[in-house]
Symmetry: C2
Subunit: 253 residues, 2 copies
């Protein structure tokens, strides 16, 4: 079940991505140039940012007219009311806020700061929203690679997020296809033959965090990495939405 060695390798040469660009095509070029074969046992991790760019999820800040709630939250947090308007439009609930921070539940159900909208690596005056349906984006990328190669790595779409009790951001899986984003180890046993106490692994989240070590957050220009050597039950698959804890089971809201 568990591998001896995992590698995380950058796909190089991906250009700045604009709306409508053929991201899958650029990824294939990166795979070919590096001599990587498309294997169903590998995982391609792609940064949210380039997926959103190719899907045209840009908004012009000055096209936005903040409502009263946006002005209120902007005053309380010190943020641009137009930016807050964009955050609210992407959210179903404001979970917490205070100066500098707005934590919401996005329309996907993900609890995160600013509904995942950030402006790093995005052209000035624009904000970039999360993909509308990141699991579908992952599936679509996987289909493109399947068509191209006859076989495809699993696909994870990652984003960098803060956490409730910890400083610093880590990578998280917001979309997934071709692997169990949540890995069920029920029935597995420990070194003493006893059933495991904790059986659900945040598998795609761990893969996204690992990938983030190679992607970086700045001008690295590395929005896609290939993770090789993992070993999951090949007949199981769950989208990243399976990683979302339903609100009624959440003790921290």
């Amino acid at each position: 079940m568990v591998p001896q060695k995992v590698t995380i390798a950058a796909l190089e040469g991906i250009p700045l991505i604009a709306e409508g660009d053929d991201l899958a095509g650029h990824i294939c070029v990166g795979m070919d140039r590096a001599g990587f074969e498309a294997k169903a046992s590998d995982v391609l991790v792609v940064a949210q940012k380039v997926v959103s760019k190719t899907e045209g999820r840009f908004l012009r800040l000055d096209s936005l007219t903040p409502g009263p709630r946006a002005y209120e939250l902007a005053a309380a947090t010190g943020k641009d009311p137009r930016f807050v308007e964009a955050v609210l439009a992407e959210s179903v609930e404001v979970v917490r806020y205070r100066p500098g921070v707005i934590v919401v539940e996005t329309h996907h159900g993900i609890v995160m700061a600013n509904a995942g909208i950030d402006r790093s690596n995005v052209d000035a005056d624009l904000v970039l929203l999360l993909p509308r349906d990141p699991d579908a984006s992952a599936e679509a990328l996987r289909t493109r690679l399947l068509e191209r190669y006859g076989e495809s790595p699993a696909v994870v779409i990652s984003d960098s997020v803060g956490r409730a009790w910890r400083n610093g951001t880590v990578g998280l899986a917001i979309g997934a296809a071709g692997l169990p984003a949540l890995l069920d180890r029920r029935g597995a046993r420990d070194l003493y033959g006893r059933p495991l106490e904790v059986t659900m692994l945040g598998y795609a989240d761990s893969i996204a965090s690992a990938a983030g070590l190679v992607m970086g957050e700045g001008a690295e220009g590395c929005p896609a990495v290939l993770v090789s050597g993992l070993d999951w039950p090949r007949d199981t698959s769950l989208p990243a939405s399976a990683l979302i804890r339903p609100k009624q089971e959440d003790m921290f809201r």
Copy 2:
């Protein structure tokens, strides 16, 4: 700053660990057998469980006499009152509880379920506590490797934890030495030359999550992995305690 390729490799042949065992010695044997050199640019990730074992952090469940608070919480959560007594003894605050779950702040300041006490991969009737001071444990391991090789990888002590808003466990750094557990990217720029918006990375947490992909949670017998190819500013170092968000900055308690 960011690498092209990172590898995560298991150190094989580590036996079942008991109190007082020479964990550093076993790790060195594993390094040597695999032909790994000790490099300051690598990270050795070690599972909490074997660190706790070697430090003798075992308790016999039937040596514990639950107090009234433990009986109360045991009734509310359906847990063994003696186990709850152990959790309370390791905690400074009960943060949330409900059937099946107790989330506490440990004496280290970490917010986690059951104060990190679990019984998987531990001999029957015993429970295993977290190391008393995991940053010191990491530093001590690093010192032993330095003595042995003249150079040492950074050391991260990992544990598997649940999260507030997400299903599934991921690896977290509870101890670290020789690297910046929290990586400060202030001053870095994005692809457009603008300063990054989010500048603090949960670096050691991401490394722990990556390592967890190779360690597994069950009978794999792989409590130590070597992560190679990372690239951090070599003159910076912060312990894992830097990853703990102080309670007064925590919006979710």
